[in-house]
Symmetry: C2
Subunit: 229 residues, 2 copies
């Protein structure tokens, strides 16, 4: 017995993909009649889907005017990094305290997968499109704090994905980042919460600073931004 999926739920996922892929451009208006035609659904169902997009801050709505895809800005991206540093640092510390044996196994096998991805990929602007987020997702899950999980995985990570896709961010230090992932897992495994938090924060801070350098100081090449956190 699989959980039933309503039309708005499906639409929500479809619209997210369309936004991530740029089929619905950033900043553009979501026309209800148009989308209802395109996706062959009633406006009611569409409106509920848009409501969910609003909830995870991918679109903003104005009464009597309509919904638009959020505008991206470096300032907002840096804000998100700041919040992530704080929350994911905490997640790493809690994970070190509460992670289960089973979760450790899964986390290490995830690392193995990523290690393989790095080896097999020729160019260095490689793997972690979702893989990196998967790692962070797993850490948050291992914290066993559902409030924290909801904030990060339901809200923030959606925006992080949007920034990655839209800015076409690629890692400039993939091996470095991967190595940090390993150290984080090692610290968690031995129950060293202090260290896990410390590395995680440094890990995310490094990404933020990379973005700052690229976008603030000389922003000619936004395609080479940082992604590995």
């Amino acid at each position: 017995m699989t959980t039933p999926v309503s039309i708005p739920e499906r639409l929500f996922e479809q619209l997210k993909s369309a936004i991530f892929d740029g089929d619905i451009p950033v900043g553009s208006k979501l026309s209800e009649p148009e989308l209802a035609r395109d996706y062959q659904v009633s406006r009611g169902a569409l409106r509920e889907a848009i409501g969910r997009l609003e909830a995870c801050r991918l679109v903003t709505r104005k009464t009597n005017v309509g919904a638009r895809v959020v505008e991206l800005s470096v300032e907002n991206l840096l804000e998100i990094f700041q919040v992530r540093e704080s929350l994911e640092g905490m997640a790493a510390r809690l994970a070190a305290q509460f992670i289960t044996a089973d979760e450790i196994v899964r986390l290490e096998s995830l690392l193995e997968t990523h290690a393989h991805d790095i080896e097999s990929s020729e160019n260095q602007a490689y793997f972690q499109k979702e893989g990196d987020l998967d790692f962070h997702y797993s850490i948050v899950q291992a914290s066993h704090n559902t409030t924290l999980f909801n904030l990060l995985c339901n809200d923030l990570y959606q925006l992080v994905r949007l920034y990655r896709y839209q800015f076409g961010m690629r890692s400039q230090r993939a091996k470095q980042a991967f190595s940090e992932h390993r150290h984080i897992v090692a610290a968690i495994k031995r129950g060293d919460g202090e260290m896990a938090e410390h590395i995680m924060r440094a890990h995310i801070r490094a990404s933020r600073e990379s973005v700052e350098r690229i976008f603030i100081h000389e922003s000619n090449d936004p395609l080479a931004a940082e992604v590995n956190a």
Copy 2:
């Protein structure tokens, strides 16, 4: 020209109040036909309002089954405290860095109001029903990080309010908490972010530990819980 308010928006506020006040009991089902009758609105408008309640996690929804007011638990409350310690600590640090002169004035006048409230109130289980949250709200605002603001003020504080109302939490250390508020503002005013964060974290941690003591060790009197953070 005042911003137009749609029916779902109004309903959202009304339902929130009804939930906070216990008119719609915690854990109970939100019957669409019943509520539509009571509030004299169509089910469509009601469903959108319920969607917003779901977004800030005051209700949970199951497809084809309906919406229920969230179940409260001490575990969840402690989770929220943990997240708040992390986020509000950061907010205090950022506030020390970015607060404007105007915001400092408003913050200090808020403190004066609270000081007066404490003086004029005879019993010690006094003032801060919303006043305390107002303080924390102001600090977050002064951080000038809109992402942080959204997470705390749109999502978490709603739940905090629900816990306060439902558990009838009262401060056991109001004067102590107020003094901590003063120290936080002082640190922010002199631009000492490290100190502001440190005090804020200790402030919230103290509240969490108070709740732990009351609910975990001997929980006979949930009415005397901690509220001042």
